[in-house]
């Protein structure tokens, strides 16, 4: 129960960072997807069965906080979490030493997919801008590096029990 409360607090703070701290810091230009990055990093360390509910909750809270259609971010996070977890287990299992780079690759891929999904589901059209997308990926990668280091340092707090990629 204590662990669940901790995870809920982490998601709540990530949402507040995304809608209040970063828009203030960057004047609303490029705001990193803190919650998405957190879900991807979790998915690259935990099994989908352990993370899907948190991806759903995180997405729903973000949808509510950004006054958008409820379900868009939740849908995107669930799908990305599943894909990150699937890719990690199927293809990256042998590369134990490269988990950091793998996590960054998943964040970059997840950012693109999230962008496309959330844009499409918001008004069923895709407003694509390569420059904005690149900036968004860079922003998310910077956040991912910070979060990766924090998660590695405080594994237990973030609910990570194993340090290396492994499939039980």
């Amino acid at each position: 129960m204590g662990q669940k409360i901790k995870l809920a607090i982490i998601i709540f703070l990530a949402v507040v960072l995304q809608i209040s701290f970063f828009p203030g810091l960057t004047s609303g230009k490029i705001v990193p997807d803190v919650v998405l990055v957190l879900i991807i990093l979790w998915s690259s360390r935990k099994k989908f069965e352990d993370i899907w509910l948190w991806a759903l909750i995180g997405g729903l809270i973000l949808d509510i906080a950004v006054f958008g259609k409820v379900g868009i971010n939740a849908f995107s996070f669930i799908l990305i979490s599943f894909m990150a977890s699937f890719l990690k287990e199927r293809f990256f299992i042998a590369q134990r030493t490269g988990s950091f780079l793998i996590a960054l690759a998943l964040v970059a891929g997840g950012t693109i997919l999230n962008w496309l999904l959330t844009n499409f589901l918001a008004d069923f059209s895709i407003n694509f801008s390569v420059n904005l997308m690149i900036m968004k990926i860079i922003g998310n990668l910077i956040i991912a590096i910070f979060l990766y280091l924090i998660i590695s340092k405080f594994k237990e707090f973030f609910g990570i029990s194993e340090s290396k990629l492994a499939v039980k």
Partner: protein, 270 residues
């Protein structure tokens, strides 16, 4: 991977996706308003602190990056200071003239409205300049539809959703925003719409009306709670609509919507 685990994984995925798709397509906006209200109530102190912390960090880094330019700027400022001293006398006359014009054009003067000063505590993270959240709500007398301005009567948006301690402000640059406006100099009327956070567009201006680059645009006071004479921006570029029936123009906003710190909700006329 055991087949059972894979099946359970797929079931969870399908279940979660089904819930999300149902919510997206049914889009029960009002259903989630109480949840949103509770979220805003809980997150209010965090949002306020985090937004201010973000801005202070931004200002700190801006200051660091600008140190190199200080010397150059200082020389420039000395030169400008001399020029400004010469213009000061002229400005006194212009001030008097400005007050006269304000009276004639019915632009909103200071002190005319009952204003509620509010801090911005969150904004659209998609960077589309669609909305902001302010730290005043129902408890402070804020109501839906109230115009939101900055300092001297410059309109930035209107209240779209009100919660106990905070409110969502729909900015003029949002693609769904629509405001009745008029040209200060020619009195030509039109409708101002947002351009997906990129700027403002003046449309539905009759071909017989005159609008030109550099003209100021103010609210016309037609429809809703919007008072007459709130400054919006300046006409930048005039063109014809695709069907040639109307004129349209790009309007340059008077303020940068992404840099808003303090805004004022107009609660009524004094």
């Amino acid at each position: 991977m055991p087949k059972k685990t894979l099946t359970s994984k797929i079931i969870k995925l399908i279940l979660a996706i089904a819930i999300c798709l149902l919510l997206i397509f049914l889009n029960p906006r009002n259903f989630f308003n109480p949840v949103r209200g509770t979220f805003l109530k809980i997150s209010y102190p965090f949002q306020k602190t985090f937004y201010l912390a973000g801005q202070k960090t931004h200002n700190f880094f801006s200051l660091l990056f600008s140190i190199g330019d200080y010397k150059k700027n200082n020389e420039k400022l000395i030169k400008e200071n001399n020029e400004l001293s010469a213009k000061l006398a002229d400005a006194q006359d212009q001030k008097r003239e400005n007050e006269e014009l304000r009276k004639q054009l019915e632009l909103s003067p200071r002190g005319k409205y009952n204003l509620e000063p509010s801090l911005v505590i969150a904004q659209d993270p998609r960077g589309s300049g669609s909305w902001i959240v302010i730290d005043k709500g129902k408890a402070d007398g804020i109501a839906e539809g109230m115009p939101v301005i900055v300092f001297d009567g410059i309109l930035v948006g209107k209240i779209s959703e009100v919660y106990s301690n905070s409110s969502k402000v729909f900015l003029l640059s949002d693609s769904g925003s629509s405001t009745n406006v008029s040209d200060v100099e020619t009195s030509a009327k039109g409708i101002l719409t947002g351009e997906y956070g990129l700027g403002l567009k003046l449309g539905m201006v009759e071909q017989t009306d005159i609008i030109k680059s550099g003209d100021d645009i103010v609210t016309s006071g037609l429809g809703g709670l919007m008072p007459k004479g709130l400054l919006v921006g300046k006409i930048d570029q005039v063109s014809n609509s695709s069907d040639k029936l109307f004129q349209e123009a790009v309007v340059r906003p008077k303020v940068k919507y992404s840099d808003l710190n303090v805004v004022f909700a107009i609660k009524g006329v004094k």
